[in-house]
């Protein structure tokens, strides 16, 4: 039996763009346990409900995280709309779906890049991020922002995308799809990549449920759950299958996310073909009074918005449970028994978004 030692990992670490701290209990090179400690980015933005009114909270919700910023805004707006019984115009639903899928595309490409950087394949990192810039250009053309857009409002969206622009986007995505296929085939087929991913960080389906994992982490363990199937926004009109994999390892998580990239492109295509010409927002009057729970499928998994209003302009409670928060117990499970050298890679496979986690 080797000697046991505890090695601190993070908060400032080269592979992580964001700080998280893990205490790794090692026996020689093998990790026996990982103890996460969080709080480096804790701001306490849920407490802002007492200082900002429910309309301003949209902008706070968008700044929970810069990667899925659009979906945070959308989830919050949907919860307030549910309380106030606001029927969102159909076009706004479609626009939300298109922007949400574009967010998923850019998030997954970002993650592929970080993963490549994590296992030391720098040119692949650069390629993924180059592809991602095309999506950001589309965001900039349609909303004016690259990462934070502020287009959501209670009752719809603030900006419209003209139909010509949408067709142009689909054309661009068609061209991009070939390039993405070329780049992602390296992730799926290259033997150096496979040697780092296959059979690393096993999380069985039962463990995923017991630990409360969500999103691609869960679907890679063979569990068929995708909140988009609940049919919020325009997803009830869209035809898509939930992408799962039964391998339960890091390769499966990569596979699921790559599958979702192409699925997102397909969903955007379907949306553009079906989008109706209606208004993009309805006027909302009065104050919210009541309670609502909305679940949204973000790139990292199911996000949970719990809004409770009391009839004044300040909300009683705004609670967000972000996907990474739910995935941390699953991460500690996958880290048990892995090699020390695989730790950065395994931390990356949950697609950590620490700003989300700590709010």
């Amino acid at each position: 039996m080797g000697k046991r030692s505890i090695v601190p990992y993070g908060p400032q670490h080269p592979v992580l763009p964001e700080p998280i701290h893990l205490d790794l209990v090692l026996e020689d090179e093998k990790v026996l346990a990982a103890i996460p400690s969080i709080g480096f980015i804790h701001r306490g933005l849920e407490s802002l409900t007492s200082k900002k009114d429910f309309n301003e909270m949209v902008y706070v919700a968008e700044r929970i995280c810069g990667i899925c910023s659009f979906m945070h805004g959308m989830g919050y707006c949907m919860a307030v709309e549910d309380i106030m019984n606001v029927e969102v115009p159909r076009r706004a639903d479609y626009l939300r779906t298109i922007w949400a899928e574009m967010s998923r595309l850019h998030s997954h490409l970002l993650w592929l890049g970080l993963l490549a950087d994590g296992f030391g394949f720098e040119s692949l990192f650069m390629h993924s991020w180059r592809l991602r810039e095309n999506i950001l250009d589309m965001f900039e053309a349609s909303t004016g922002g690259r990462v934070i857009f502020s287009v959501n409002t209670i009752g719809g969206v603030l900006k419209d995308m003209p139909n010509d622009m949408l067709k142009e986007f689909v054309k661009k995505l068609d061209e991009m799809e070939k390039e993405i296929r070329e780049t992602t085939s390296i992730f799926l087929n290259d033997y150096t990549v496979k040697s780092r991913l296959v059979d690393v960080g096993i999380l069985t389906g039962e463990d995923a449920i017991r630990r409360g994992a969500v999103g691609p982490m869960m679907r890679a363990s063979g569990i068929n759950v995708d909140m988009r199937k609940n049919g919020y926004a325009a997803y009830n009109d869209i035809d898509f299958d939930v992408i799962t994999s039964n391998n339960c390892d890091s390769y499966a998580r990569c596979e699921v996310r790559i599958g979702e990239i192409f699925q997102s492109i397909d969903i955007i295509r379907q949306c553009v073909a079906k989008i109706p010409d209606t208004e993009i927002n309805t006027k909302v009057t009065g104050m919210p009074n009541g309670e609502s729970i909305i679940r949204v499928e973000q790139p990292r998994g199911e996000a949970f918005y719990h809004v409770r209003a009391n009839g004044t302009k300040f909300l009683d409670r705004f609670r967000v449970r972000t996907p990474t928060f739910a995935n941390i117990p699953a991460l500690t499970q996958t880290l048990q028994g892995c090699q020390y050298g695989d730790v950065p890679l395994l931390v990356l496979t949950i697609d950590p978004c620490i700003s989300c986690t700590e709010r």
């Binding site: 969080i38 407490s47 449920i209 630990r211 759950v225 009391n310």
Partner: protein, 120 residues
């Protein structure tokens, strides 16, 4: 157990562990635990949310200010984070959390920021 609205049930403290065990044995996953303190009502509300596939259920526990709640972290490991969060941010006492971090989850300077002093 009483249904308040769709997928939302009001339970007693005595029923909690029974409900949790039922959910665990049926392989439901714990989505979240949400603690809130509506000022008008002057008590804590703790909501446990579970999901199984696309089924969804919430159980709400009403807790008075000086009352404790039992920990479910021995049944659902992921509850550790939620329960420590409840204690650190709301000052709600949770009995015997499996890993009690003693207000060191977020390590903030302010004591229980979500509850105003006079409400304590």
């Amino acid at each position: 157990m009483q249904e308040i609205k769709k997928d939302m049930y009001l339970i007693d403290k005595a029923e909690l562990l029974q409900v949790i065990m039922e959910k665990k044995n049926a392989l439901w996953r714990l989505c979240q635990i949400c603690c809130s303190f509506p000022k008008a009502e002057n008590h804590y509300e703790v909501t446990y949310s579970f999901a199984n596939g696309y089924d969804f259920a919430n159980y709400r526990l009403i807790v008075e200010k000086d009352e404790d709640v039992p920990s479910i972290s021995r049944v659902y490991k992921s509850a550790i984070y939620y329960e420590n969060e409840m204690h650190e941010l709301w000052g709600l006492n949770v009995e015997n959390i499996k890993v009690d971090l003693h207000d060191k989850l977020y390590r903030i300077d302010v004591e229980t920021p979500f509850i105003e002093k006079e409400d304590k």
